[in-house]
Symmetry: C2
Amino acid sequence: MVRVRTVDRRLFLLIEIAARCLSREADVRLRVEAGVTASQSAVLFLLLQRGERRLSSIGAMLALSAPAVTGLVNRMQSAGLVVKRKDPQDRRGVLVDLSETGRGAAEAANRVLRNLNAGLDEQLGEDKAGVVCDVLTQLVLSKNG
Amino acid sequence: MVRVRTVDRRLFLLIEIAARCLSREADVRLRVEAGVTASQSAVLFLLLQRGERRLSSIGAMLALSAPAVTGLVNRMQSAGLVVKRKDPQDRRGVLVDLSETGRGAAEAANRVLRNLNAGLDEQLGEDKAGVVCDVLTQLVLSKNG
DNA sequence: CCCGATTCATTCAGATGTGAAAACAATCCG
DNA sequence: CGGATTGTTTTCACATCTGAATGAATCGGG
């Protein structure tokens, strides 16, 4: 078993580096093929899978702070990707949903992400990729509940 | 085998979420116990392990763009953690090294990172944590050379 | 019914990233 | 020698995060 030493074994540092690498690659392809950024694609993915949601719900699922969600969604609204409306049941809340444009972009982004993910699975092997997904998922759940 | 569905299995999205979670936790402890941020700790770690380096070398090892390194190191210099000097061999380059203060901070940050990492190993199991490290390392190397 | 506590979103200031383009230094080569 | 090219860093404009403070709506116990 090769033990490569990039930055020792400090997972905290390594995961950020890896995330930057992947994110950069994803961002380029998402911009070209779907016209959205990587951050935006996460929101689009969520809305496409789960439908209209609160800002707070988006923040919880993506582990983003409230101000981060506000800014990200506002920029997406300016770009015509999503629509915001006050929650009629509880007017403190704000509901976000895909626009028609946004739905198209979300589907395009989804294809890009699926391709990228398939590439990763191939590069790493399905078994290892699976372990990584499980571990990261477990990690996220343990930190957020 | 439990297959949790946080955000399907799009590793590109999941790794960013996980990185945010870990980074946030690390940042709090690093600020309290070492007086530095998570980003700064990566640079300190590198300089402590490898000694004085070029800005470009730091960027390559941490997968950061040149402007990111310039900004990060400048803030660290303002904070008294590092010292910059022109490379006497090739005056295009800029060498960065730890200050006395920086060395202390680096050692403190190192202890924090070691503790955090030990906690992760315990939570995930050494074998799984090892797989994740190997996979992420492989990934980073394949993207950067 | 009302006021204090809670919840949700926004604003704010600042750290951290990016790509594009400018500023310089070194090197190549005709 | 000198102009073109290459390499390194910085500047710039902007997207993306964070915690802290604020505002707005709801809830719940008198």
